[in-house]
């Protein structure tokens, strides 16, 4: 099981964005059927500049700008994937996945099953998530829970540059449609990333920090929040374990449950809406799996049940922070 902190010795550091780009470049070199499709992906390299340089290396036939047609080019990718290509589709803001649901859910996710296993759809949809960028309600959502609910799809939420590279490479090589969520606030996050060709398998959680008193299960940028909270907790004598499932589906239930059994307390953190979201599934899995070991109910912390407001002081309270997690953990531990 490749664990990020084990690679801290590697002295090469990349940003999250660079790790994504390196994964794409490596896979495109390795496999000529991999190509990139999306809005402003070519010369512009996306508004986040995540793809800068790929056009120059791979040319216009493999890095394609599209019209603003999220449904259209996602559908095109499904057909291309069925017939020998490996598309990596770029949906600029995760909020726009709303436009691709039919292609992803009624087509991509079901083709393999409906055809009795005959056709396959090896495609990746890369998109973004995460609030606090002052982008308001239509550019700040984290809608990954929808995809997690759909059999036939896999869903990946990397939290470090190391994981981003390894998971994206695994996603591209996977024979199934994979939705890959990148928190846009993490693109500049730095971390160790080996230059070699490694993958992080889908379905394997990672213990990002070992602890004894409470388990913080966290996804995507919430892993950083959880690690920050763990540091604060340490100061008050509470040892927190931080577990990152890394892929929402397949879900490594065992690692989550084992950690909660060990610590007897758990908080689940995710930047999607709390209600009917990822935190519900993770909390329920833990509440069931560690039922006889839990000393307190599993606490869920997700985005507040409001459209993300533009106004900074309002937006800031809609998502969990180190401080709110610290306080919740302290309360849960009764200290």
């Amino acid at each position: 099981m490749p664990e990020t902190h084990l690679h801290a010795r590697d002295d090469r550091e990349l940003t999250f964005a660079q790790a994504i780009r390196e994964a794409l470049a490596e896979e495109m070199r390795r496999d000529p059927t991999v190509f990139i499709l999306g809005e402003d992906v070519a010369e512009a390299g996306t508004p986040f500049k995540v793809l800068s340089g790929l056009l120059e290396e791979f040319g216009k036939d493999r890095v394609l700008d599209t019209p603003i047609s999220e449904a259209g080019f996602t559908g095109l990718a499904v057909g291309a994937a069925m017939t020998g290509m490996r598309p990596v589709v770029d949906i600029m803001f995760g909020d726009f996945v709303t436009l691709t649901m039919d292609q992803m859910v009624n087509q991509a996710a079901k083709v393999h099953y409906m055809s009795g296993g005959k056709w396959r759809v090896p495609m990746v949809m890369r998109t973004t998530m995460g609030a606090t960028r002052r982008s308001a309600a239509q550019h700040s959502q984290s809608l990954h829970a929808w995809f997690c609910h759909v059999p036939g799809l896999k869903v990946v939420l990397p939290s470090t540059p190391y994981d981003a590279k390894g998971l994206l490479k695994a996603a591209i090589r996977d024979e199934n449609p994979v939705v890959f969520f990148e928190d846009k606030m993490m693109y500049k996050l730095k971390g160790p990333v080996p230059a070699d060709d490694y993958i992080v398998p889908l379905g394997v959680a990672d213990v990002k920090r070992v602890g004894e008193d409470i388990t913080l299960v966290a996804t995507s940028s919430m892993v950083q929040v959880a690690l920050g909270a763990a540091t604060l907790l340490e100061e008050v004598g509470i040892s927190a374990e931080v577990v990152d499932p890394r892929t929402m589906w397949p879900l490594d239930e065992r690692t989550l449950i084992e950690s909660a059994k060990k610590t007897s307390r758990a908080i689940v953190l995710d930047e999607g809406y709390e209600r009917y979201g990822v935190t519900a599934e993770l909390a329920s899995v833990i509440a069931t799996g560690a039922f006889y070991d839990l000393d307190a109910p599993v606490k869920r912390m997700g985005a507040m049940h409001v459209p993300i407001p533009f106004s900074p002081p309002l937006e800031d309270v809609t998502v969990p922070t180190e401080q709110t997690v610290f306080e919740a953990a302290r309360a849960l531990c009764g200290r």
């Binding site: 059927t33 190509f35 036939d61 394609l64 599209t66 019209p67 047609s69 449904a71 259209g72 080019f73 996602t74 559908g75 095109l76 990718a77 499904v78 057909g79 291309a80 994937a81 069925m82 017939t83 020998g84 290509m85 598309p87 039919d102 292609q103 009624n106 087509q107 083709v111 393999h112 099953y113 409906m114 055809s115 009795g116 296993g117 005959k118 056709w119 396959r120 090896p122 059999p151 036939g152 896999k154 024979e175 199934n176």
Partner: protein, 330 residues
């Protein structure tokens, strides 16, 4: 656009015409058996019969290679057969049997068959426009010269994604033909109530080569389709083919009382005066390329072939219950 037929050309193409005749009869006989299965309560769920529209699938698919791709619709049996699928495994699929093309998991609206380039029927109206366009994209990238055909009913003109795909296909110059089967009705609504402006102009506005054809004249369909397919294969880009046609039966096998949305008179007219099989048959006889008895024999022959295929399917076993969890992920 109809084919102008010279005697010389006629004799050269006689094989094609007889093959198309046979294929149309096969589809009709297949669908008759589907209706029968429904009436006898042997078929789970519903099915949408292609009877009356045979010339479209047959005319277009005869212009394709086996390795070319098609995508199909909820009314997809005709496309599937015309592209080369076997009736026995199709019936098995319709009955949810393990021997079916999709191991029984797909059913009538989802038959798919890589061996004949069938990317699958689709129960979402316009659901396969992206898939067909994407297959054409692969052809371009892989340089394998394959053409992709997207069949859809005129109801799909209501879906915005069709225009997104046509725009993409034209921008990328993809070898894909969008074949619109205008059978006048969506489920229970006349297309004039749901379609503003002019259909062909919609495709032309996106830069596509566009043509319309009498969808009951299989020779005309074939000739036009062939031109568009050749053009696409040469790299000249996508096209749109509008075929005027008619479904003789209801929207699905259970749609029996139809008078609130269309008249018996209209149905009668299409059946008696514009039947694609009768039309080609009459012409073949007139041209002395076939005699009535031979054509009748074909009918009987295919009927019994279809019955045998049904028997196979009825006798075939269901998948084991624990197969339910297989094929979710590859």
């Amino acid at each position: 656009m109809t084919t102008v037929t010279q005697p010389k050309e006629a004799s050269e193409k006689v094989d094609l015409w007889l093959r198309m005749y046979r294929q149309m009869v096969a589809i009709r006989q297949f669908e008759a058996q589907v209706n029968e299965l429904y009436t006898r309560a042997l078929m789970p769920g519903l099915a949408h019969l292609y009877i009356g529209e045979e010339a479209v699938a047959v005319g277009v698919c005869e212009a394709l290679e086996r390795t070319d791709y098609i995508t199909s619709t909820h009314r997809g049996h005709g496309h599937c057969l015309a592209k080369g699928a076997s009736p026995d495994r199709m019936f098995a699929e319709l009955l949810g049997k393990k021997a079916g093309y999709c191991k029984g998991k797909g059913g009538s609206m989802h038959i798919a068959d890589p061996a004949t380039g069938n990317l699958g029927a689709n129960a979402i109206v316009c659901g396969s426009a992206g898939i067909a366009t994407g297959a054409a994209f692969s052809s371009r990238c892989l340089g394998n010269g394959r053409v992709s055909v997207c069949f859809f009913g005129e109801g799909a003109l209501g879906q915005g994604v069709l225009y997104e795909e046509m725009n993409l296909a034209q921008l990328f110059k993809l070898p894909v033909i969008y074949v619109c089967e205008n059978n006048l009705y969506t489920e229970y609504t006349h297309y004039s109530e749901t379609t503003a402006g002019d259909i062909l102009s919609r495709a032309i506005a996106f830069g596509l080569e566009a043509a319309s054809v009498d969808g009951q004249d299989v020779r005309a369909v074939h000739a036009t389709a062939q031109r568009l397919v050749d053009r696409a294969r040469r790299g000249d880009g996508p096209a749109f083919l509008l075929c005027d046609t008619y479904r003789y039966h209801g929207h699905h096998v259970g749609d029996i009382n139809r008078e609130y949305y269309r008249s018996k008179q209209e149905e009668h007219l299409w059946k008696t005066e514009r039947d694609p099989i009768a039309k080609l048959g009459k012409w073949l006889v007139e041209q002395k390329l076939a005699d009535v008895a031979a054509l009748d024999r074909l009918q009987t022959e295919l009927e019994s072939e279809m019955k045998k295929a049904v028997d196979f399917a009825v006798a075939a076993p269901y998948p084991a219950v624990d197969e339910v969890g297989e094929d979710v992920y590859a």
